[in-house]
C-alpha cells in the first residue's frame, strides 16, 4: 500500500512530537519550552525538504491546496471562505498568547554538582581532596562496621530531618527549602560522586558552593561547625552502605562535577 504524501508528512510530524513530548521526558528529562519549539520547527523543515525533493512529490503535496485556492467546485467555495477566516484568526490568537506569556521568573540554571575546590580548609587543617581518593576510614577495615554504625547515629541525629528516614530527601523539614534536600537513593546524587566530594559538600554546606550553584538558596548546613572530620567520613560511609551505591573513585584530573541538570 502506498501512503499519500500528506499522510506521510502528518505521520512523521506526529511521531516526532510523540518522541519529544513522551519518549524523551520518560527516558531522560522533559525538553524545556523554547528548545521544544526549535525541535518542532526543525522537524517541519525536514518534512518540507522531503516534500519538495522532487517535482512529482511537490505537485502531489501542493495540488489539494491549489484546488482549494482556485475553488472550482461547489464544495470548495464555502470551504475556502471558512479557511480564509479561520487561518488569520489562528495566527492572531497565537501571536497574542505568545505576548501574554512573556513573564517567567528567572532561574532554573542551578548547577547541582559544580567542580569541587582542590583543597578544603577543615577546622584550620588543609585537606587536599585529590590526595584522598577514598575515605581514610576505609583503610581501617577491621573497624569499618563500627564506623558505619556511628555514621548511622550521626545521620539520625543530624541529617534525617531534612534528608529523610529513607534517605529520599523527604524529611519533615524538607518542605520549607528550595532546592529540596538531596535524595541519596536516586541515581543522580551520591552515586555519581566520590567520597572526598561529599566530604567537601558536607563540611562546607550550601554556603560553600560556588555562585553557579546558588549557595544563597541552599539549606544544607555547614557541618564543619557541628561534626569532627572522622564523624563526617563515618556518615559518608553510612550513606553508601545504606543506599548500596558505590562511591566513585576520584580521578586525578578532577574530572568530576560540572554536570547536573
Amino acid at each position: 500500500m502506498r501512503l499519500s504524501i500528506h499522510l506521510k508528512s502528518l505521520l512523521t510530524l506526529l511521531v516526532a512530537i510523540f518522541v519529544f513530548s513522551v519518549v524523551v521526558p520518560f527516558v531522560s528529562a522533559p525538553i524545556p519550552g523554547q528548545l521544544y519549539g526549535w525541535y518542532v520547527i526543525t522537524t517541519l523543515f525536514v518534512i518540507y525538504l522531503y516534500v519538495s525533493s522532487s517535482e512529482a512529490s511537490w505537485e502531489e503535496f501542493i495540488s489539494p491546496v491549489r484546488q482549494l485556492l482556485l475553488a472550482r467546485t461547489a464544495l470548495m467555495k464555502p470551504l475556502r471562505i471558512v479557511v480564509f477566516i479561520v487561518v488569520p484568526l489562528l495566527c492572531g490568537w497565537y501571536f497574542s498568547t505568545w505576548a501574554a506569556g512573556g513573564s517567567a521568573p528567572p532561574g532554573g540554571l542551578r548547577v547541582i554538582h559544580p567542580t569541587p575546590p582542590s583543597s578544603v580548609n577543615f577546622q584550620g587543617k588543609q585537606l587536599v581532596l585529590q590526595d584522598i581518593p577514598v575515605s581514610p576510614i576505609r583503610k581501617d577495615e577491621a573497624h569499618l562496621a563500627e564506623h558505619i554504625e556511628n555514621g548511622r547515629i550521626i545521620y539520625y541525629e543530624n541529617c534525617f530531618f531534612c534528608h529523610g528516614d529513607a534517605l529520599q530527601g523527604k524529611g519533615h523539614f524538607a518542605q520549607g527549602f528550595n532546592p529540596a534536600p538531596a535524595d541519596f537513593q536516586a541515581s543522580g546524587t551520591i552515586a555519581q560522586l566520590s567520597e572526598s566530594y561529599l566530604f567537601w559538600r558536607i563540611a562546607k554546606g550550601g554556603p560553600g558552593l560556588p555562585s553557579e550553584s546558588t549557595p544563597w538558596d541552599s539549606a544544607m548546613p555547614i557541618w564543619e561547625d557541628f561534626l569532627t572530620e572522622e564523624e563526617i567520613w563515618q556518615v559518608i560511609a553510612y550513606l553508601y552502605d545504606t543506599t548500596g551505591h558505590e562511591p566513585r573513585v576520584m580521578d586525578h584530573g578532577g574530572g568530576e562535577g560540572g554536570g547536573g541538570h
Binding site: 480564509f84 495566527c91 520549607g176 539549606a219
Partner: protein
C-alpha cells in the same frame, strides 16, 4: 522505574495492577487489612531486625521512645512500653484498657502520623514487614499479653454534610461536647484549657490540634478518622472519648425490650451528634490538603488607595499564596520544635505603593516575660528582601544575608505593633529595633490568628541600600516568623522559608491586542498572496 516501564508496555498488567491497588485501598478503607493473628518466632525476629534498622533511632532500642533522633523531633516519638496507641478503632476493654487492634497499629505505620516526624512506611516496607513490626512492637508492652482489644467502633448512622448539619455540629461543638474549651471557637487549637497548659501522659506539653489544617491531623482527616477520634478520644492525650464505653453495650445486655429501645435511641442520637460534629469540623478547613507552594507571588494592580486594614474587603481580590514555615535548623542555636505551620501571603500595588497581607495561626498571643517557667518573647513576623539591587541570579543568603549581601527585614511585632525596617548581615547581626523606613502597618490578633498588613512606597530615595519594587520585575522575598511563647526570638530561633519571587503586575498591556491584529493581518497577507500566485499560474 523499571516497574513503570513494564506497566507502560503491557496495558493488561497495568489494568490488573490498578484493580489490585483499588481492591487493596477498598479493603484498607474498610479497616479490614488482615494481620496474622498469631506471629511465629520467625515473624518476631524479622520484626526486630526491621525495627532496629528503621525505627529504633526514634523509638529506642528498648522501645522506650529514646533514640538518636529523640532530641531533634517534636512531638516526641512514642514510648511503646506504655502500650498506649493514640489511634484506635476499638472501645475500652472490660479491664479498662484502651488497646489498639493490630490493623490500627499497622495503619499508623503504613501512613505515618501526619504533621509529625513519624513518616509513612508504605513506600519502603511491604505489608508483611509492617505486620511483623506490629507484632514486634507489641512485645514491648505486657498489656497486650494480658488483655485483648475491645469491641469495634461502629460508624453507623452517618449524616451527610449540609448547612443544617454543620449548624447543629457547631452547637454541639460549643455546648454539648464543648470541644471549644480545648480547640477554640474557630478551631485553631487555642481554647482556654489549651492556654492554661495541657500535658500528655508522658509529661510533655501538648497542644490541641488546629482543626483548620487537616493535613496536620496525626491520625488522618477522613470522615471516619474524625468520627473515631471524637468517639474514642486520643489515648495518652487530654482529648477525651465522647462515646466510650460502647453506648450500645448496655442495650445488648438488657432483656427488657423497652429499655433496650430507649438505650438504642440514645446511642443513635450520640452517633448522629458525632457525625454533625464531623461535618462542622470539616467546615472549618481552610484547605482540604496542604496547598502546593507557588513560586511566584503576584501583586495585583489596583486603582486608588491600598487597603490598610487586614480585614478590608479589597483583599479578596488578591491571589493568596500559602508557604510552609519550618524551624531554623541550619545554624546554632537551632529551633526543632517549631509551632507555626505556614503563612498565607497576599500583595497589592497601585503603581505608587505596595501592600502585603500576612496571615498565620498562633495559639498564643505572647508577651515578653509572661511565663514563669521559660523565657517568652513577643510574636513577630518579617518580610525579607535584598537590600541591594540584584543583577543576574545572585541573591543574599536566605538566612538574613551576609556582609556583602545584606537583607532588609520589614519586622512587625505584636508589641508595639508597628513595623520597622531592620537591616541584617547574617543571623548574628539581627536587631529587633530599626527605623520606620517608610513602612506603615496594621495588625491584629484574633482568636488564634494574626493578620498583618504592611505598606510602603514602591520606590525610596535610598535606591542602592533599600529594596525597590520595579513593576514587571521578579523580586526575591521570603518570610520569617517568631512564636514568642515557644521561646522563639532573635536571628536564630525562628521559622523560615526559602526565597520565592514577587511579581508586580504591570498596567494592563495593549500588546496582546496589537499582536492579535498583526497576526490576523499576517494570515490574510499569506493567504491572498498564495491565492494571487496560484491564480496567475493556473487560473
Amino acid at each position: 522505574m523499571s516497574e513503570q516501564r513494564i506497566t507502560r508496555g503491557r496495558s493488561v498488567s497495568a489494568l490488573a495492577c490498578c484493580m489490585g491497588v483499588g481492591l487493596w485501598l477498598f479493603l484498607s478503607l474498610l479497616g479490614a487489612s488482615p494481620v496474622n493473628a498469631q506471629p511465629t518466632e520467625a515473624d518476631l525476629e524479622a520484626g526486630e531486625q526491621i525495627y532496629l534498622q528503621r525505627c529504633a533511632h526514634c523509638h529506642g532500642v528498648e522501645g522506650d521512645g529514646v533514640g538518636a533522633s529523640t532530641d531533634v523531633v517534636y512531638p516526641k516519638p512514642r514510648d511503646f512500653t506504655s502500650g498506649v496507641y493514640k489511634f484506635r478503632t476499638r472501645h475500652e476493654t472490660e479491664e479498662g484498657n484502651w488497646l489498639a487492634a493490630d490493623s490500627d497499629i499497622a495503619r499508623s505505620i503504613r501512613e505515618g502520623l501526619h504533621g509529625s516526624s513519624m513518616p509513612g512506611w508504605e513506600t519502603v516496607l511491604s505489608g508483611q514487614q509492617i505486620d511483623q513490626l506490629v507484632h514486634y512492637i507489641k512485645t514491648f508492652a505486657d498489656v497486650f499479653e494480658e488483655d485483648t482489644p475491645g469491641l469495634e467502633l461502629s460508624f453507623a448512622n452517618e449524616i451527610a454534610s449540609s448547612p443544617e448539619s454543620i449548624a447543629r455540629g457547631k452547637e454541639i461543638f460549643e455546648t454539648v461536647f464543648e470541644c471549644h474549651t480545648c480547640h477554640g471557637t474557630d478551631g485553631r487549637g487555642n481554647g482556654e484549657e489549651a492556654l492554661a497548659g495541657l500535658e500528655d501522659d508522658w509529661g510533655y506539653r501538648i497542644w490541641p490540634a488546629n482543626l483548620t489544617k487537616p493535613w496536620t491531623y496525626r491520625g488522618g482527616s477522613g470522615r471516619r478518622d474524625i468520627f473515631r477520634n471524637i468517639s474514642l478520644g486520643i489515648a495518652g492525650t487530654p482529648m477525651p472519648p465522647f462515646a466510650d464505653p460502647d453506648p450500645m453495650a448496655e442495650a445488648r445486655e438488657t432483656d427488657d425490650p423497652e429499655e433496650k429501645q430507649e438505650i438504642e435511641a440514645l446511642a443513635r442520637e450520640l452517633q448522629e451528634d458525632t457525625w454533625h460534629t464531623v461535618n462542622y469540623v470539616q467546615s472549618l478547613w481552610t484547605y482540604p490538603q496542604e496547598p502546593e507552594v507557588k513560586a511566584t507571588l503576584t501583586a495585583k494592580r489596583v486603582d486608588g488607595a491600598l487597603p490598610m486594614s487586614p480585614d478590608d474587603a479589597a483583599w479578596q481580590e488578591a491571589p493568596v499564596n500559602y508557604y510552609p514555615l519550618v524551624g531554623q535548623v541550619i545554624q546554632e542555636p537551632r529551633l526543632f520544635a517549631s509551632m507555626t505551620v505556614g503563612v498565607e501571603l497576599q500583595a497589592l500595588h497601585n503603581g505608587e505603593e505596595v501592600a502585603f497581607r500576612l496571615v498565620w495561626d498562633d495559639r498564643t498571643e505572647s508577651a515578653p516575660g509572661e511565663s514563669e517557667e521559660m523565657e517568652t518573647y513577643g510574636d513577630a513576623v518579617a518580610l525579607q528582601f535584598s537590600s541591594k539591587p540584584l543583577s543576574g541570579m545572585e541573591k543574599p543568603y536566605f538566612l538574613m544575608g551576609d556582609a556583602s549581601y545584606p537583607t532588609d527585614l520589614w519586622y512587625w511585632r505584636n508589641d508595639p505593633g508597628d513595623a520597622v525596617l531592620t537591616r541584617t548581615q547574617g543571623a548574628g547581626t539581627f536587631q529587633a529595633d530599626g527605623n520606620a523606613g517608610g513602612l506603615v502597618s496594621q495588625g491584629q490578633f484574633d482568636n488564634g490568628q494574626y493578620r498583618v498588613v504592611i505598606q510602603r512606597a514602591l520606590q525610596t530615595e535610598q535606591t542602592d541600600t533599600e529594596v525597590q519594587f520595579p513593576i514587571g520585575a521578579f523580586i526575591p522575598f521570603s518570610v520569617t516568623g517568631w512564636d514568642g511563647s515557644n521561646g522563639e526570638f532573635g536571628g536564630y530561633k525562628r521559622t523560615v522559608m526559602a526565597w520565592y519571587n514577587l511579581y508586580l503586575e504591570p498596567e494592563p498591556s495593549k500588546a496582546p491586542l496589537y499582536l492579535l491584529l498583526v497576526g490576523i493581518g499576517f494570515g490574510l497577507i499569506v493567504e491572498f498572496s498564495a491565492l494571487f500566485v496560484t491564480r496567475k499560474n493556473h487560473g
